[in-house]
Symmetry: D2
Subunit: 341 residues, 4 copies
């Protein structure tokens, strides 16, 4: 059997660990050959391949990124795209695909499977916003990076007199903000699931300064203020009427400075949350996902993706990857509010 492997979507620590496990078990236990497809679905679409065997996966376990490259190419949005994929798979003698990716990548996988392509999926979302699995790899790494940033800010917050803001990933789900904020001991955590009151944030800030500690605020990039407080945000200016700053973190800083008279500074972690070596949790999870994905291929269990349930790896329908977004439930956010202020 020849198995194709591809990685799609945004970067996520652990992708290489999945690839390595798929290949190590595929070659070592099942005797498969592998074809590496370049840059997500662009690879099978344009026949862009690379060698993928035991030698190629050596030493990649601790490395971030993906040796296969990635893209957001969607063959269903390209005329004749699906046919070209089928032709390329056929001419390359590829019997089955392991597709590693998020909502978009696995959405394509789901439709291709319905059209008869043998696909097993491995879910990837650094935001951990996938309902079908307890956790996805990459998330733990991102949370640890954000937590370490918060840890560093604490000492500065103790000796100085500035509100410190950390903007983390999370456009639609606040898992990274919530976990990093809980782990880092943030004084306020703002997530996309709940519009925040800038007044209430400023009250926390004031009360924190009163007890002689500077506040640390973690804000997800997708968090938004209450409707009534958005005027300056909508106008593209900050609280002082100046041309608007970078992201929501910068805007929040200007609001705090304007309303409380205290200085505020923002750290924007950006892509460093997506890069670098994965944590042990992510390496083990990614490795186990890879092992079970190739087991699924061997079992002919196509149209499925692997998922974590408690401490077990199971397979679930691929379609589950693309249905419900797992957002932070209000009761979990309330748990965290105990630590606010």
């Amino acid at each position: 059997m020849r198995i194709g492997v591809l990685t799609g979507g945004g970067d996520c620590p652990g992708l290489n660990a999945v690839i390595r496990a798929v290949v190590r078990k595929g070659v070592g236990v099942y005797g498969y050959e592998f074809v590496g497809f370049r840059d997500g679905w662009k690879g099978p679409l344009e026949g862009m391949t690379q060698e993928l065997g035991i030698a190629e996966v050596r030493g990649i376990l601790p490395r971030g990124g993906t040796i296969l490259g990635s893209s957001r190419t969607n063959p269903f949005k390209i005329d004749g795209g699906v046919d070209r994929i089928r032709e390329n798979l056929h001419s390359l003698g590829v019997d089955a695909l392991v597709a590693i990716g998020g909502e978009d990548t696995l959405g394509v996988a789901t439709k291709l499977h319905e059209l008869g392509v043998n696909v097993v999926g491995v879910p990837k979302t650094i935001d951990n916003d996938l309902n079908a699995t307890d956790y996805t790899f990459g998330f733990d790494t991102a949370v640890n990076i954000a937590m370490e940033a918060i840890d560093r800010l604490h000492t500065t917050a103790e000796s100085h007199h500035r509100a410190l803001i950390v903007e983390v990933m999370g456009r639609h789900a606040g898992w990274i903000a919530l976990h990093a904020g809980l782990a880092g001991g943030a004084n306020v955590i703002l997530i996309p699931e709940q519009r925040f009151s800038i007044e209430r944030v400023c009250a926390y800030v004031e009360s924190r300064f009163e007890s002689h500690y500077a506040p640390i605020i973690v804000i997800a990039e997708g968090a938004m203020p209450l409707e009534g407080e958005m005027s300056t945000l909508d106008k593209g200016v900050d609280a002082f009427g100046h041309a608007r700053l970078g992201g929501i973190g910068d805007w929040l800083a200007s609001e705090i400075e304007h309303r409380t008279g205290k200085e505020a500074r923002t750290t924007v972690l950006g892509h460093i949350q997506r890069g670098g070596t994965p944590t042990a949790f992510d390496r083990v999870l990614a490795t186990r996902f890879g092992l079970h994905a190739i087991d699924a291929v061997n079992a002919g269990d196509f149209g499925k993706m692997v998922a974590l349930r408690s401490t077990d790896i199971v397979t679930v329908p691929l379609a589950d990857a693309t249905t419900v977004l797992k957002t932070v439930p209000p009761e979990f956010y309330s748990e965290a509010e105990v630590f606010f202020g």
Copy 2:
């Protein structure tokens, strides 16, 4: 209500995070007062207390160790011990206890509960060998520390010609060795659950050297060779007949040197696996354990301990902490064997 808190047994990153969460929610939401007991069960036994309030738990979230100290004191092994505990709790006006500890500490808690003391337990075992919960805090930190050690050895293994051995914690269960070995890409993982064949280990070592890479072996401190291979170990000498070396890691090094003619070096991580700042996973888990433990106190749900099931915190009978040891199941170990050699 006055609530006592104590920590018992070996050190484990996350203890302070539990204490902080218990106190923050206990004071902030339920209006409780707290009494900190020193050094595990020795505290209530001898009436050794310390102040425990919002001020005392400030800043302790990222810190390893326990601000309450710890011990292995067992009041049931001391004449009149239990009565003294009851008297001290009574005279201090303590209505309920939150006991954070492992098998021994929670074993005492279980018996005290049967004798009418209000206790809620929080399970702690760095070895992750507790059946009643998916994971315990501290384990993830220990695994990451061991993994980082293995990561560092890889570069040395690539440029030199020595077998490198890392001895990690795990007297009865091989979870740390297994996870760290999987995460670090070890070439062999040896755990207490399965006696290892030194011959087979040497075969892996030889084959690894043949492909021009030096082998990295992770061994749990409680791992043992096959009965037939133990002669020198039993005699207290190494493979060369010299006086025996430190632990099983040193013994294994001597065997490899003797049998393969290759040099071998051992790193013994020891207590650094137990210390230092916890990972995000452990801080979040410990914090959630603490929040739910004080909720259980508030609900009068005594004789229980908190546990992780999938992504939820639940309560289970305290007695569950002390029944079955969760060892590495053979099928999980087999998963890892794919990467051996």
Copy 3:
């Protein structure tokens, strides 16, 4: 003898290590008593003190921040400020001061010494822009934090197709950018000492993409484009005419996107470069600075500050701290240019 200690100016990992060394040797070897002054020169100005002895410095070596707090208060800008300081020192029985701080804090120290106050200085500048000493503590920590961020970006740069920008500290001197860029293998390093050509930066970006790697650009917050390229920057808009983004890193991203058509993303490290536990280099340097500062007090060597020369700690006139700014010399920047593109 009673010795006062204060820390002034911005945060810098290693401040606590200095304080600890001053107190440990001052008490243990010289038998001094200590008075901790709060918040820089505000402390002696307003008589704000805190206890400072062996107990207070226990455990602070690895901690960022300063247990004494800090401020930018300048008594020479306050009516009667200097007299109040002298009165307070007198009434508190303080015979000499150890002042730990940067240009401003030591500038005050220099003038006070000229007015007869016994002062020894310890230089502190995270930017490493002080001519009188080879290195200052805190700098190595900041460089390592920035380097780790760049390391993380590399994996993302390899698997995706975006220019990645890291904005680091350095308003007037580019030492952090230069060292972090060299250590992290950046493709371009932009520093305040040399205006950059956005055209040349874009040429590097294009050539890097041609060789199928995404470029990583390190930019000091004080770096500026050539005069002729500043039009949008002056107008407060980005390259697309949109309201201007946060800092120079965001502006550069917009220029790159506009001119090359490639996506660009910015990480703003901000205060995390100033916080957290110091590196070994900074802890040893800060500790040695502290030991030699109290030796200078003991020797009556006032009006001096400690400095690193090669591997030795020496004392130099306090005034040296505030004369020439040590900027990156062109020939050292040229060394780094070997790695550009």
Copy 4:
């Protein structure tokens, strides 16, 4: 011109950074071609080469180990070894060599230079025991690793009641122990330069326990007790008369247990001090060493090695690498003793 490059001796973080800088500047600025020699002097001896160009050095800056491999082969101890090297260099068209290594490797380089071979040396000693240069790369990384281990032990030491020992590298010089001990806040530091009194160590241990903190002891692998206290060490048994333990750290633990009645535990860091990614300091130093080494080749400045003097890279005679061992001077050790106990 064709330039050969080799790395010899023990592993040391930063070797790859040197190689990269040599090649990047050699190719990019001087237009040289490069030949990589495998495994130290074994490479030119046996004509074992590997390609070495811009592509081969890509991405190696942050990686520990050496892409060229290493060995301790000494051609002067092999019949006709030197002639074979000269023949191989001639037939490969190698005009000059850059030799990166310690005392042994550079000792060979010195002699070869005297015999007419064009050599420039780059000093490498993780122990920092080379008089000719302020610092060598790798040392800072090793110190940080050891310091982090000590940091982790502190929390355990605070909550438990065991003496904790860390055995670090340093057979003949105690630099790593001294710096790591100073940076980590060890209670005792034992180095090869000064025989230690086990009685005095036990006195420190006792006094530390009296103040309710557990002691942390850093011991270099080459540290030795006073002559009069060595009886058990000489007999190959521990303090209890049991067969002797691993290294000096294990022996010290047994002595402390025997003499004080307190438990003691040892961590042996071993090869993890030599591996993994270098710190920023080491990457910058190694990079600058590489740049200046190839400059020296270009200047025809053979028979020299690069060295750090204050913040400058200079060249000094190769022979300086092999003359005086730089050990810890008594006055520097005394500085550290302020913190003992």
